[in-house]
């Protein structure tokens, strides 16, 4: 969106300079000369080649209403009035936009009419709302888009068997994982350009993979395993991928799509759009489609008013908290669930219908979350009846809907649930009222999901009045970090779910006092964490090793807004996006806080590392590699050294070249300057002064007397 705004600004300033009044300017009157695009690249030029009809006709705002009564001339106006009344409720009909043809012989209407709206959206809405409208028993409206007519006309009368296309093997969509240098990719969006780049950390630079202007209309998003890059357009979403470049693999038609979400195993894509209602008092209309990513088929769609999708949680677009459907059950994409009023609707993807054909009834449920690995839902019900009915957190197994564990919580004002990435632990942060109910304090309920009977432990901070600023589990690990205390210098504490004797008790590892941090970013591999001070702290970064409990480096990326670890935990990218006017761009750091390179880009919107699918190695094997790391690393260290030697050699060479070039230029100029010497002298009335102009650095000692004072000193003789 921001890019459009910027463009608009530029247009406005240009218009102001040219003296054009934009308010009274008819944009549609602008016509490019035929065959000339004035350098304006279509956002999706293939579309125009593939589907000439759909986009070239430009009749998207016209609908055809069939099955109207056939009336003689006398009743023509009356019928027209009725139709106009029905259809102007939905949107504004263009002037002369209603046309009902008449049979020239009988002077009777032909039983259909054309209606032209101002926008295709209105037309689409009208089609949806009035198709099947019963004017009376004999006349049920059949409404279709004018654009679709050609399509219907071209349906052949006789059925022909579909052609069986020969099998062509697809590209290896995961080829990027086989990079020889084991580099990672990322996508950036700046200005109108979207670029996919390699992070070539060894040479402290990036290498371009693919670049495209106007690739997306609002944002891009990687699928969770990194196979696809999704783009968002007016007509719908698209996914891109390929072995060496990015080709469009599939399109998902969903007009005016606003948000998208992949299932964790990237089998399904959920798209969302909301449309302004015709009556401003109504809530927005929401359309959600679930597509199969590979076939592009709509598996299920949901339509309704925004209110139905806006239960529990705020934020997102127009009160709908995104994602509406939360995916659970690990990487198999088996279940997805939606929060409803007094219920959680859990669907399964085999049939795309509710499990047992009914939702999970939970009175007053306000929040739920899936375990990242198992089909377990954790849900939260707040306190009711002024404390008579305590708040509760419970764990529900899917699909059996059996309650695994429940915990009642007293005087709770709010609750947040945090799952550890392996689904081993669940931390519930509960804000409780003090006895006077005037203030709140925070405690944690820690669930050990994988242990028998799911034991729960209560953890309170040393100073339980501390405000919790951030909480984060170590990925795949047993530790978590908490930022607590008051701004401007809160404390950061680390806890472990294990103690030295492995008794299954939580223990504190350390507390770092007075840190300028308000966000936590664990390395995906665990062990390392970046304590970041975003927003008010202007981008303070501290790279911390939790194994050794020591700070590896402190740094600053001034005004940084976003931080993301690469999927391997080797590098960290910090970026300043266009929320700030200045300093836009990104930095790439090593895991231990060494700045590798810095790239500035105006109007910088997005930085996203391409995710990697999980490793096929067993945890035991991984551990073995970690133990014998020295053996493996030798080879890479040697390579690193070679590269750095080569680089410094190249650097020296480049500098030498630049110097030589400059010297050559200067000497050439000197010659010309010398030739003109006499003429210059003449211009100055014979004052020979060229030599004087060459200043030399000479050392001149200047002594200045600052102050002179006389003092009488007594002289003693010993």
């Amino acid at each position: 969106m921001a890019s459009e705004v910027m463009l608009m600004n530029e247009i406005e300033s240009t218009a102001a300079r040219l003296g054009i009044d934009l308010d009274n300017f008819d944009y549609s009157s602008v016509k490019l000369p035929p065959g000339e695009y004035c350098g304006i690249v279509s956002d999706d030029e293939d579309v125009y080649h593939d589907d000439q009809l759909e986009f070239d006709s430009g009749f998207g705002n016209i609908i055809v209403v069939d099955n109207l009564p056939v009336v003689p001339r006398e009743k023509f106006e009356k019928l027209e009035g009725v139709i106009r009344k029905i259809y102007s409720q939905i949107g504004v009909i263009k002037e002369d936009g209603l046309w009902m043809p008449v049979d020239p012989e009988t002077k009777k209407t032909l039983g259909y009419c054309f209606i032209e709206y101002n926008t295709p959206q209105e037309a689409e809405l009208a089609k949806e709302k009035t198709n099947g409208y019963k004017l009376d028993r004999a006349h049920i409206f059949a409404v279709s888009m004018f654009d679709d007519f050609d399509k219907y006309m071209r349906v052949p009368d006789e059925w022909a068997p579909p052609e069986i296309k020969p099998y062509t093997p697809g590209e290896n969509l995961q080829k990027w994982l086989t990079d020889e240098k084991a580099r990672d990719q990322f996508v950036i969006r700046a200005g109108t350009d979207t670029e996919v780049l390699w992070n070539d950390a060894r040479q402290s630079k990036t290498e371009l993979v693919y670049k495209r202007a106007y690739w997306t209309e609002s944002f891009v998003q990687w699928s969770p395993l990194g196979t696809y890059l999704a783009t968002v357009h007016r007509q719908g979403a698209a996914v891109w991928g390929g072995a060496n470049t990015f080709n469009r693999l599939m399109r998902y038609a969903h007009p005016q799509v606003k948000l998208i979400d992949f299932s964790p195993g990237e089998k399904y894509l959920v798209t969302y759009s909301s449309h302004e209602p015709s009556n401003p008092r109504d809530a927005n209309r929401v359309v959600i489609n679930i597509f199969d990513v590979r076939t592009g088929k709509v598996m299920r769609d949901f339509k309704g008013s925004a209110d139905e999708f806006a239960i529990g949680g705020t934020g997102g677009v127009a009160g709908v908290s995104w994602p509406v459907f939360r995916w659970g059950g690990g990487k198999e994409d088996k279940y997805f669930a939606k929060l409803g009023k007094n219920m959680i609707s859990v669907y399964e993807t085999e049939t795309f219908s509710l499990i047992d054909k009914k939702s999970l009834k939970v009175e007053n449920v306000v929040d739920f979350s899936w375990s990242p690995t198992d089909p377990i839902i954790a849900l939260f019900v707040p306190e009711l009846g002024g404390g008579n009915q305590p708040a509760r957190v419970s764990l529900v197994q899917i699909p059996s809907k059996e309650e695994l564990r429940q915990k009642n919580l007293f005087s709770v004002s709010d609750c947040k649930m945090y799952w550890q990435s392996n689904g081993d632990y669940l931390a519930v942060k509960a804000d409780r009222y003090t006895k006077t109910k005037k203030s709140t304090y925070t405690g944690f309920e820690l669930f050990r999901i994988k242990e028998r009977d799911i034991p729960i432990e209560v953890l309170e901070l040393d100073n339980k009045n501390d405000k919790i600023i951030a909480f984060a589990w170590e990925p795949k690990g047993h530790r978590f970090a908490v930022i607590h205390g008051d701004n401007p210098r809160p404390d950061v504490s680390f806890y472990s779910m294990r103690t030295a004797h492995n008794t299954g008790r939580v223990s504190k590892l350390t507390t770092l006092k007075g840190k300028q941090a308000n966000a936590l970013f664990w390395s995906p591999g665990g062990r390392f964490i970046v304590l970041a001070g975003l927003k008010g702290f202007n981008g303070q970064l501290e790279f911390f090793n939790v194994d050794e409990l020591e700070t590896m480096a402190t740094a600053e990326h001034f005004m940084a807004t976003d931080i993301e670890w690469d999927p391997t935990g080797r590098y960290v990218a910090t970026s300043v996006t266009s929320v700030h006017e200045m300093e836009n761009g990104f930095n790439v750091w090593s895991f231990n806080g060494k700045l590798l390179y810095r790239i500035l880009k105006d109007h910088f919107f997005q930085f996203l590392w391409r995710p990697r699918p999980p490793s096929f190695l067993t945890p035991e094997k991984e551990e073995e590699i970690a133990r014998n790391l020295k053996k493996y690393s030798k080879k890479y260290e040697a390579e690193d050294q070679d590269v750095s030697m080569l680089l410094s050699e190249q650097d020296r060479e480049k500098r030498r070249m630049l110097k030589e070039e400059w010297d050559k230029w200067v000497s050439e100029w000197r010659r010309a300057h010398e030739e003109e010497k006499l003429e210059r002298q003449k211009l100055r009335d014979g004052e020979a002064s060229d030599e004087e102009e060459e200043y030399e650095a000479k050392e001149v000692e200047v002594e200045e007397v600052l102050d002179v004072s006389e003092e009488v000193l007594s002289y003693h003789e010993e």
């Binding site: 006017e581 003429e679 210059r680 211009l683 100055r684 200043y695 650095a697």
Partner: protein, 326 residues
Amino acid sequence: MRPILMKGHERPLTFLKYNRDGDLLFSCAKDHTPTVWFADNGERLGTYRGHNGAVWSCDVSRDSTRLITGSADQTAKLWNVQTGTQLFTFNFDSPARSVDFAIGDKLAVITTDPFMELTSAIHVKRITRDATEQTGESVLVIKGPQGRINRAIWGPLNSTIISAGEDAVIRIWDSETGKLLREADKESGHKKPITSLAKSADGSHFLTGSLDKSAKLWDVRTLTLIKTYVTERPVNAVALSPLLDHVVLGGGQDASAVTTTDHRAGKFEAKFYDKILQEEIGGVKGHFGPINALAFNPDGKSFSSGGEDGYVRLHHFDPDYFNIKI
């Protein structure tokens, strides 16, 4: 060395100029009164009173006897440097922006802004040795570029005039006929208005600063691009060291947006770059508003910067500066 803060202007600085000997520093500001300072210790010597609008630029003759100033009051004035008296006033129908004496000080180029229906123009005036014989007649008037011309200077042997301004194009004109000789390449040239232009000490190349966050070094004869210096903020002022291969860029975010952000975000530093390698060497902090003017002392051992904050900061380099190796 600690910089010397020179507070004498009440409004943002617009231009700074050393005389040839490097002992005097002339400063122009939006407060109508150009001021002259001792370039060594920053002591104020005097002011030139008479303008009735912001003063945009000035130039001093080679023998340091005469000063020319261009002002928003639609005049350019000649002054006696020593006494501060007005010698002559050139009247225009629109604000005068840039002034520059030719080699030999017998000609001056003055640019005027677009105003009402008038387009911007470059005027060449003959400067007489005896001020009583001075007339306001133009030898040559060049019109053509769109928008304001922010700077116009003389090329080698006074045979050309180099202009740059809001339309982001650098042009070289024949100073005899007024014919357009060269135009900077659109591809390699600036993308946004050019704010400043400074000639090297030997006049072989010049540096332009632009709001597109870059400065570019050009060959004065062929108008070929030699170097580009990329920075993080709009460039308002540029200067070239006469002694070492260094260039200085000053600027900062737009004054209207300054109050909304942290002072560090504004980037009000004067940034030093290696002229040949195009790499940043260092920065000099201090101003709390964008830098509008920069000038090097002709001996290359000190420089001064003038800011939107109304201060002139005079910096004498430490000995370390002369031994920078990169």
